[in-house]
């Protein structure tokens, strides 16, 4: 019994197949590469290995061939939380929230950091690197620590202070840049191509994004079906493409009988895919305006942008952009109604669902699923509101009088 069913790579553009090895782009056409697995008819129960924790229960569809190379902190197996108060409020029959804030560093990035650092070990790399606004850098550096690999993390000087402190704690080398992002990413991409470090970025490395595929598997396992709509935030497109791949694989293996309608959710300040989808035109990078959802502030997602658009068009998907005000409303409603506290980037998909319900863009009798990608613990809080109280019995008793 092989530990991983991975076989090799295939170019999603020209279709050429390649042996299993570390490649960042198609050697033939430069296109985006995907991993290919020996998918057979199987049930989810056949696939799952409960000798492993978290997302590594699905190691057969992850690209690590030797369990000794796995670098894990127990990421995955996040709760799938029904939202019985929020659903009727916003006008949908059933709503499920995949709360990724319970991963080790508090974000969905831990899934891909685990596959990235494990892959770096698999291919013998001694260093890994990424350019990040916060969550990705922290997460990758944490897993690099765990895997005893050197991490060089680049962070923009205007990053979130709490996130930068966390990153500083974990990175082998934290590099703060003040100049142009585009110049930096060109330099880092070049160093990665020269083999100076394993690519921990989200745009190209096919090994990295596989970790997020397990979200689709976990949802199907918990619901024993697929929801009608799957709302995914899109920055570079990693979560969207990875979860799409997960559902597609499950359908090929006969585990699910249909695909959910995939919904691409972006910020109005950075919506290249939404703009292209709604206009029917080819993909074009756009400029980015400031948004509180820093994790989706991407105007040029690289090759995954056109790929997301292609999936949306082939499968009758949807694409929606939300304002900062809608994002803040989603944060507030999620905390007030369901007790979940998430950062602005974390609720982009929920904000898009609320908008879709309000505009009657989806049937109110549907079931929908949103990925809440980050905890709120590392984000700014609304102003505190406490009242100073006295400690005598009469004073304390009065505090309960409104109940």
């Amino acid at each position: 019994m092989t530990f991983s069913w991975v076989q090799g790579l295939v170019c999603s553009d020209c279709g050429e197949a390649f042996d299993f090895r570390y490649l960042l782009k198609c050697p033939k056409c430069g296109g985006l590469l995907d991993l290919v697995y020996d998918l057979r008819q199987a049930s989810l129960a056949d696939l799952v290995d409960d000798n492993f924790q978290g997302m590594w229960r699905f190691h057969k569809v992850l690209p690590i061939r030797n369990p000794a190379h796995i670098v894990t902190l127990g990421e995955g197996s996040t709760p799938l939380i029904p939202a019985p108060r929020l659903a009727p409020l916003i006008g949908i029959k059933a709503l499920y929230l995949k709360y990724e804030g319970t991963n080790p560093t508090g974000t969905v990035k831990d899934r891909t950091s685990s596959t990235a650092v494990s892959s770096a070990k698999q291919f013998g790399s001694r260093a890994i690197t990424v350019v990040s606004t916060g969550n990705a850098g922290t997460s990758l550096a944490t897993y690099a620590h765990r895997g005893e690999i050197y991490s060089v993390i680049f962070c923009y000087h205007r990053g979130d202070p709490i996130k930068m402190s966390h990153m500083s704690l974990m990175a082998s080398k934290l590099c703060i840049f003040e100049g142009e992002y585009d110049d930096l990413i060109r330099s880092v991409d070049r160093c990665v191509e020269e083999g100076l470090a394993f690519d921990g970025g989200a745009t190209r490395n096919p090994f990295k994004h596989e970790g997020k595929k397990t979200i689709a598997y976990e949802v199907a396992e918990a619901l024993e079906t697929v929801p009608d709509f799957f709302f995914s935030p899109v920055a570079v497109g990693e979560i969207f493409i990875a979860t799409y791949r997960g559902f597609d694989e499950m359908q090929k293996m006969g585990m699910v009988d249909r695909m959910p309608t995939m919904v691409c959710c972006q910020s109005m300040q950075a919506q290249p895919i939404v703009a292209a989808f709604q206009s029917g035109k080819p993909f074009q990078p756009t400029s980015v305006q400031p948004t509180i959802a820093k994790g989706v502030a991407v105007g040029d997602p690289g090759p995954k942008g056109p790929r997301v658009l292609e999936i949306l068009r082939q499968h009758s998907g949807m694409a929606l952009a939300v304002s900062d005000a809608e994002i803040q409303e989603a944060q507030r409603l999620l905390a007030e109604r369901e007790g979940l506290w998430a950062g602005p980037t974390g609720v982009v998909s929920l904000a898009a669902l609320i908008q879709a319900c309000r505009n009657k863009a989806i049937d109110s009798k549907s079931s929908a699923f949103c990925i809440i990608t980050e905890t709120g613990l590392t984000s700014q809080y609304p102003p505190a509101h406490g009242q100073v109280v006295k400690t005598t019995l009469e004073d304390v008793r009065r505090l309960f009088s409104c109940v």
Copy 2:
């Protein structure tokens, strides 16, 4: 098949049994009450119900009779993380860390908040209350939100700012007190006895602490045995007593063949149980000095203090106190060696283990288990250390030269 095997209550002091109902102390002698279950010979696999998530997989040994009363955010099922680099460094054969930072609000408190709020619903309470330094108040208020119960949370005005912001976001009423803790707790206890709110405190309510029992079940399930030593932080004694109860129940059901040696871990600034155990004298509350581990800064734990001491004496346990410097060392080592970032309170048990190894108080061929009770995301970070870099290829390339 009954959903919960709970039968009633028994006084841990006088041994009197009582019907299943909401009681805070023994009606006969005023002693500490425990819940009693109809324990039968069973395997862990028989006990677990995978139709539920997280700690509610163990609902048969939790005190909620009707699943409709469960208030959950998917708490529990936290990763059990081996520490292959830390173990040889500190001098022990095998070390496992139960990382409770991946609970929904980032701490172990979510387990007991879930059983507390579920119990409040079970017994028809419309409000719940607790006096907290941070984590407990946030967690209880979060679950009260989720369960649509009113929460009145009392917090000392010198609490952690990030924790207080989070608490403020979730509490129905956040009450800041500046006066004497002892006066306040007397007033709140009285209001709770008058039925004005369900008791969300850790000192008496037998229904609340049951949630933490599931830590023992999860460890036994993951390891398929029990470790030699079980290091638990002790403030009021909730985790210690609850996990002890879990192991004891498993032994009675034939799921495990022995108990681990229970180790009570306290701060040197607040060590009433350690002092009594080491001196052989009866339990006495002590004064508290300031410590960075605010969650264990308890000098008068109430009735659970003597109970912890009794368990230690009956079962040849150990009791250790650690300094703030040892706590900071444990935080640093945990981050550097294993990639886990935890707050000061979170690593008290690990600091005690490191001390025990250093003093050769335990056999280096043992296996040990530490509960890491909180994430570091809501704690203060060490000073950030980044370097400002330029974005040209030569500059970036140079950053990888040390690899």
